[in-house]
Symmetry: C2
Amino acid sequence: MNPTLIVIACGLVSLLYGAWAIRSVIAAPAGTPRMQEIAGAIQEGASAYLARQYFTIAVVGVLIFALVFWLLGALVAVGFAIGAILSGTAGYIGMLVSVRANVRTAQAASQSLQGGLDIAFKSGAVTGMLVAGLALLGVAVYFFVLTSILGHDPTSRTVVDALVALGFGASLISIFARLGGGIFTKGADVGGDLVGKVEAGIPEDDPRNPATIADNVGDNVGDCAGMAADLFETYAVTVVATMVLAAIYFAGSDHLSATMLYPLAIGGACVLTSIVGTFFVKLGGGTNIMGALYKGFIVTAVLSLIILLPVTYLVFGSFSTTLTAGATAAAEAVTTAAGTDGAAAVADAVAQTGTAAGITFTPFDLYLCGVAGLVITGLIVWITEYYTGVGFRPVRSISQASVTGHGTNVIQGLAVSLEATALPALVIIAGIIFTYSFAGLYGIAIAVTTMLALAGMVVALDAFGPVTDNAGGIAEMADLPEDVRSTTDALDAVGNTTKAVTKGYAIGSAGLGALVLFAAYTEDLKYFIAHSDQYPFFQGVTSETLNFSLANPYVVVGLFFGGLLPFLFGGVAMTAVGRAAGSVVEEVRRQFREKPGIMEGKDRPDYGRAVDMLTKAAIREMILPSLLPVLSPIVVFFLINAIAGKGEAFAATGAMLLGVIVTGLFVAISMTAGGGAWDNAKKSFEDGFVDRDGVKHLKGSEAHKASVTGDTVGDPYKDTAGPAVNPMIKITNIVALLLLAVLAHQGV
Amino acid sequence: MNPTLIVIACGLVSLLYGAWAIRSVIAAPAGTPRMQEIAGAIQEGASAYLARQYFTIAVVGVLIFALVFWLLGALVAVGFAIGAILSGTAGYIGMLVSVRANVRTAQAASQSLQGGLDIAFKSGAVTGMLVAGLALLGVAVYFFVLTSILGHDPTSRTVVDALVALGFGASLISIFARLGGGIFTKGADVGGDLVGKVEAGIPEDDPRNPATIADNVGDNVGDCAGMAADLFETYAVTVVATMVLAAIYFAGSDHLSATMLYPLAIGGACVLTSIVGTFFVKLGGGTNIMGALYKGFIVTAVLSLIILLPVTYLVFGSFSTTLTAGATAAAEAVTTAAGTDGAAAVADAVAQTGTAAGITFTPFDLYLCGVAGLVITGLIVWITEYYTGVGFRPVRSISQASVTGHGTNVIQGLAVSLEATALPALVIIAGIIFTYSFAGLYGIAIAVTTMLALAGMVVALDAFGPVTDNAGGIAEMADLPEDVRSTTDALDAVGNTTKAVTKGYAIGSAGLGALVLFAAYTEDLKYFIAHSDQYPFFQGVTSETLNFSLANPYVVVGLFFGGLLPFLFGGVAMTAVGRAAGSVVEEVRRQFREKPGIMEGKDRPDYGRAVDMLTKAAIREMILPSLLPVLSPIVVFFLINAIAGKGEAFAATGAMLLGVIVTGLFVAISMTAGGGAWDNAKKSFEDGFVDRDGVKHLKGSEAHKASVTGDTVGDPYKDTAGPAVNPMIKITNIVALLLLAVLAHQGV
């Protein structure tokens, strides 16, 4: 039997799990009529959001589909469609379940903590397993269809381009969900607070505020649909890039099919361990919710560690076979060169095949790379918890700084956000060195693949957050008893930490995944250059004109240009939140003015209109920033091409990709960690924060107010700009890959 | 006559100008006894600061001197001493003049605006001309001594190492002045405000606050001594790196002496044009202070543009001679290789000599590169003014966001700070492409040299700021009439803009200067490798093991490692300000407790103790962050050497240098531009800010309070962390250069 079919079966198991979990969530009691009324409004809002968002995506998607079809052909365009549709489906179903689980969680929380935890986590797990399952299925099925049914060679450009386009389809959804969604959620949050708390003097989650429902919808938009699309993209793109690297490195080798299968096999195995892990999310006797969630996570990680050993053996048929990456390509290039123009050409060929040539390793080395991926995940989770958790120095230092005012709170928060980048970066650096020394670039790719294979579990932890957040809001609005609210609060507090932790994971994996994409870019380029007889555009590009060395100023130019993108993008995204919030303020003011009965509780606000208007504003605001990563590789390439020729243009574009990763990683980590720390510093005042001088500061104190300022600043940091940097990094990379494909295809 | 002597004469002219300007400042009337009393306290505080700071520097300096002597010999150690002593002297004299000019400015301002402007600017010009003059003299005289008197070959390692060590000496002062000084100034500012305004309820600049004098001293510490040391370092380091590049590229060529002289000649010529420019800082009939300052700046720039034409002709004897960079070295390496091991070695040699080989250009091309440097300077000034000036969109958007609260003010400020990085980066990118296409890496170096040749004028503009700031404080404390205060306020407002603009210039030039240093690193490395018979440590490093390509994971590791440094450094520096401010709070509380008469105005606070205590705190706080740039290159080199061998270690270290520049440039620009924008957004409320809805917000309004929060956040951003990133970038680079020298010297 074709082993890809086993992988496909694993993917189908995750869909079955999803179907089962959806049924069991929906079967739970949905609470009082008042609760259902509120939940109904949130569901209505979510549908309004999804309808407009997906309509826009559909329009843009059809245009891109047509463009890809025209430039690269039908099979590639279909790949694009598969990626977009599956990622969209995961987010869509996840959202629909999430806005139905919230009220059921509130209801269950009125019975027991375990009950609330069960429903909320199961709802998150639906999204998680759909993400991992559909991403895996998308890649595996299409690869199977292309190679085993349509009979294309696995290393052919058609297959490579179609898979890359699949990643690009996922990217389309991801930028909409992360950037548009991020602007939506924080626009609703900030705008709703401004006009509700500040102007009208009504509390958060007050049903009289027309923006309240938008705020609740926004929680799901960000941490359910947003995270789903983000990790779907990273997952798909990383698996694809790993397969592309395998196709290039092992072309003509006996191990080609095994090395191309291996990332899919890892994905299949870890989907199963993720499903098993979900059943270990149990409180046991105590009330340690975080402990229960980590139990599930650790079970998944340990089981993966174990199961990958036999998987590796089965895929390669041995632990000690010698795999040689790039040997064929290198030998071929050098031989060709030697046959033609003598020493200079040999030098060219050697330089072009570069470090990939002739690295050897065993399947067991690859297994160790996978283990490294799991260790990196664990360390990043641990570091993020340190920087954003209430009990540790960073958050305490922000709480302490709040005592002396708004300004010092923000200063300390910024200090923490900057500092928080160092350890994750060191972990990533260590991971690169370790895995590279074991199995070269392919080893790095396997480590990232393994890291991402846990995406099902990780997304479950993240998508758990908005359900509990909503449940708290519903309990508040439906005037449920105080103890229900405190149960949902306990769940929600944990949700804040899991949201921060999973964002750290998402960014870390995106950073490493982008490196794999960058490797795919350079290897692709080498391939086209080595076969420039078939790809006339690449004729004349030699190692003298294509020079990725840092000593080449065009490389430096590329690094700077790439480096500026996350900063500019972050700045524009933060401004967009401000403007979207402004439009919420206008809308709410208008509703208050036109329906004076709202404030008296007599008239029902028009929640749907607020949601729809904000969705429109968010989509309008995302146009400019989302064009940045799409256009930058194209502009840089053609600009430098005009100035200095093709070779330097390829070098500058490649360097740009790395520039985006280098600054993007730091910008994104600093924003998400800083935002999480500010958030929890604010929370530390809810139970009363005891400062250095022994004074206790409670909710409502001046120190608490200062901490609220920090939290407000952290919101667009951690929920809009920071997470949106992820898809931005990857889109820049994948557009560059597609650009190569288009140039190769045109034969200009 | 040796043309270096003409350059030395130009340097001496700037010292003469300095002496004349000092005399004329000191000769001005020093105001009432009360004013002199206050100024006396500031002078006392400045002396206390300088005494402790320079004592610490002396101790550290002697240790490093001994180390350099031991590792690299006497001449190199003397170079280090020259750099440190001259930079220290410029800052020391500048500070002493500045704290005497402040009271005289206040006195002159009571007569006329032009009078106040005259003294304040002249005081700034003293620092400026000392910086440019002493930096030029240091390099030129020592070069003359080494080559013409001691008879060393200009391209010999002794001369190169001695000049690099001179840059390192300047770096020592620079990190103390920028980082220690930055922590001092903002510790005094934030701490003084916290304990004075917030706790004791007394206004800023109230003589009862023991931290008031420290605050006034701090202004000079940051913008006079700090900027002086920073630009002294950038100036010296850039001129040295340019000369080193010339020595490598033109070794054995007829044009060696001309290309090594050219940067010095540019420096000499522009010192003269800067001096001429100072005489054009006149109000004319109006009251446009900024216009008057820009008049001086523009005269300097235009005169430089003109005078560089004949200077270029005189240095090279023609505009159209063909200069070929690196031809000899390349040819030599290839010939040697061909003579030994055949094709592979030729490939090695070709790869190693790389892009530098055989680039040809004319002296007129170099002149155009110089013009590009001036244009870059102009554009950066213009962009910085746009992002930090009161009349433009960015600052207005922050003012507008203040209307909705502290949080939105900070969000918008951060958005502006992120966005503000894009245009300067694009200007730098364009500058690199333009100058490289005209004259290769040497062309880039000449552009930066020309940019920095204006340092005298630029430092004058910056050091003008603290004088007017202090003058305002003195006017306040001495109860001078309202109209004097409004004159000093007008001068001070301009000072804020010039401070922001000159910081943009300092960072832009530091970023480009660091590129030149990076080029020096790679060229040095190539040199050692090509002559590994003399430098046994470099034996066995070939193009296969030394691979600067982005496809090499150790290069990526280096980029990430370098990239994290500015973030970590910035975070630690921000935290340090918080802690230093805390120690000010303790000290002031103690004085209030022990001398209750202070608050009643009966007892004199112990200003000196507050200054001394804060100086100690600042020095303690700077230890950890200042070790980062010093140790990082060493740690990275030996770590990667242990893991992957020498070649990869050199590659990773080199990549680290570029990583620091790439993220450092963005971090520094975002911090200084953001801080300036926050500052001016606060100022916009002083005349009343009219928001989008037509409501006017005055000083004391809620919106104004929100803008004060942003300003507080911006303070350590723009005055501590941001500017300190400059020396950090350069120290990392220069330590790496010294590391190469040490490795070459040890012959291990």
